[in-house]
Symmetry: C2
């Protein structure tokens, strides 16, 4: 693999000049530029990004932490972030934290050791304090889907409470009053916010919240099935079931069908996230749109503006509003 030294020799110029034509930041005469470019081409020269980074203290790569590498939600997020950044010549290094303190920690350390120019984090397990320290350390950080006190400028969140409210409110508007709720793990802020919204909608309609109407799942499909089974034995009067994400809603639908319910005539189901596959479920899932795409885009633009000084016309917004997507799983009572 050719080095800059060989190029400089072949072109009959100094290292510095080669570096200059590579980076295009200093003036080089047309004639020498040509010589250098020819030499590069004929040697098949490819700059060593590692060496460049070490010397320039700039890696042109931003670290992205997600909880999992699979699943629609994270797929959308990764895809969006990568697209925006790549369009601007920046690269993304993706790691997974698996919703585990140690692993998130380790993943972030990895990204830091890799000297990413900035970090985009969907961190669920790590503490607020840790994140505050991270931001204080001068490393540009943006936090997705989590609001950390005193870090408003770095956080991009959807209004989960409002989303939870919308879901349950929609069910109530269709006449439902016995509404089951399958939540995510309640130690997670987004899960508890959504539940809070659910309760607000109930309260507003004068419906008392019953403890037995709640099943705490883990955001995965299988816990949706378990949740539905739970409902049948502990809250069998339900006519509508609100789920804190689409995956669990899908699981619940499967279980409901196995139990002989017709959806939505005998049981209404509402999801959350509006993940890609939700429209392909049968019946098509009524859900709350979680603007992941918009948030990912925004996070990427924030980095471009703050770290690379690349301006875009996009105004930075930190709070995203959810909205209901009416499809076929919510019926009139």
């Amino acid at each position: 693999m050719a080095t800059i030294y060989e190029v400089s020799e072949a072109a009959g110029v100094s290292l510095a000049t080669v570096s200059r034509v590579m980076n295009g930041n200093a003036k080089v005469s047309e004639r020498t530029r040509k010589k250098v470019e020819d030499a590069m081409a004929s040697l098949g020269y490819q700059p060593n990004a590692i060496a460049q980074s070490l010397a320039s203290n700039r890696t042109n790569s931003v670290g992205l932490l997600v909880s999992e590498l699979h699943g629609s939600y994270f797929g959308d997020l990764m895809s969006t972030v990568e697209q925006v950044l790549k369009q601007n010549g920046k690269h993304v290094i993706i790691t997974a934290g698996h919703v585990n303190v140690d692993r998130e920690h380790e993943a972030i350390e990895f990204l830091k050791s890799r000297r990413c120019d900035a970090l985009i984090l969907h961190a669920e397990a790590v503490s607020d304090d840790y994140l505050r320290k991270l931001v204080d350390s001068k490393l540009p950080v943006v936090i997705i889907n989590r609001k950390v006190d005193n870090l408003d400028d770095n956080c991009f969140v959807v209004d989960n409470e409002q989303g939870g409210y919308l879901a349950t409110h929609a069910a109530i508007k269709q006449g439902h009053r016995n509404i089951g709720y399958i939540s995510g793990p309640l130690f997670k802020k987004d899960a508890s916010d959504r539940l809070a919204g659910h309760k607000r909608a109930l309260a507003e309609a004068g419906i008392e919240f019953e403890a037995s109407s709640l099943f705490e799942g883990d955001f995965h499909e299988s816990s949706g099935q378990e949740g539905m089974q739970y409902m049948q034995t502990h809250f069998s009067k339900l006519t509508a079931l609100v789920c804190a994400n689409d995956e669990m809603a899908s699981g619940a639908m499967t279980a409901a069908r196995e139990a002989g319910f017709d959806i939505p005539s005998q049981l209404s189901i509402i999801g959350f996230d509006n993940v890609l596959f939700s429209r392909y479920l049968y019946p098509k899932l009524t859900t709350i749109n979680n603007p992941i795409h918009a948030m990912g885009e925004m996070a990427a633009h924030w980095v471009l503006q703050h770290v690379y000084n690349i301006k875009s016309s996009m105004a930075i917004e930190h709070l995203f509003v959810p909205e209901i997507i009416n499809r076929d799983t919510l019926g009139k009572l």
Copy 2:
């Protein structure tokens, strides 16, 4: 950010000694090791991976190229590869090629410039010649889901032809003779192989392949819907529909239902890949298992063995056999 120099000073030893305790490859007395470790801890020292890589010519990271960052298939693949590699202290740098020659090219160049120790490629657009050159360049490369002549040692593939055969064969065994087929883009080897298998099954059963029974999709959900619509106007006698992947099968199911077909009593559908969500479709999709998980695992182990000399008990296999997963969308005629 503390450097190795500051650590050596704080511990009262030389740079080399600090490096030695970091890497644990040379002997260091217990006493000095302790001194160094204490110094590291109190300084919050974190090695600069960039500098390490430059000096050692080893990045401990392997590049992974996928076609897209979203979608179940790639999610599974990324997840598996990352898991195996991370367990062994190696890191994954993921890039997307978007099934486009230039972008795959660029993505691979990026990984090379990042000095990955090895590459795991799910490259669909780039030429065989390009891949052969890449392998010749001494960069360890493994190729997933694509068989390149003279590169057998580097390729891990599922027998797509056999998979296509199995799908159609299963339909025939249930009495179907008018079988529609929604393929992937036929310039892709896997798509054309699957179709070839379909044709072989037909031939074996003495059924003539009709051109109008074929719709060429793009492996995305929406083209499954389009394919189903096509069938209704151009091949309406179909009683079974074989789809070259699960996403298109899902799209086809949606369209079929909208057109009033009951599945499987009026129309049988078979997918391909056995992607996670296929079991959550309603009815649950009968499909061909594509052992992505096993292939990803194998690819990762190949790298561990060949590049990092980490032996595992796993024997390296290059050809994976597909099998049918019987669920609820294939019915007797």
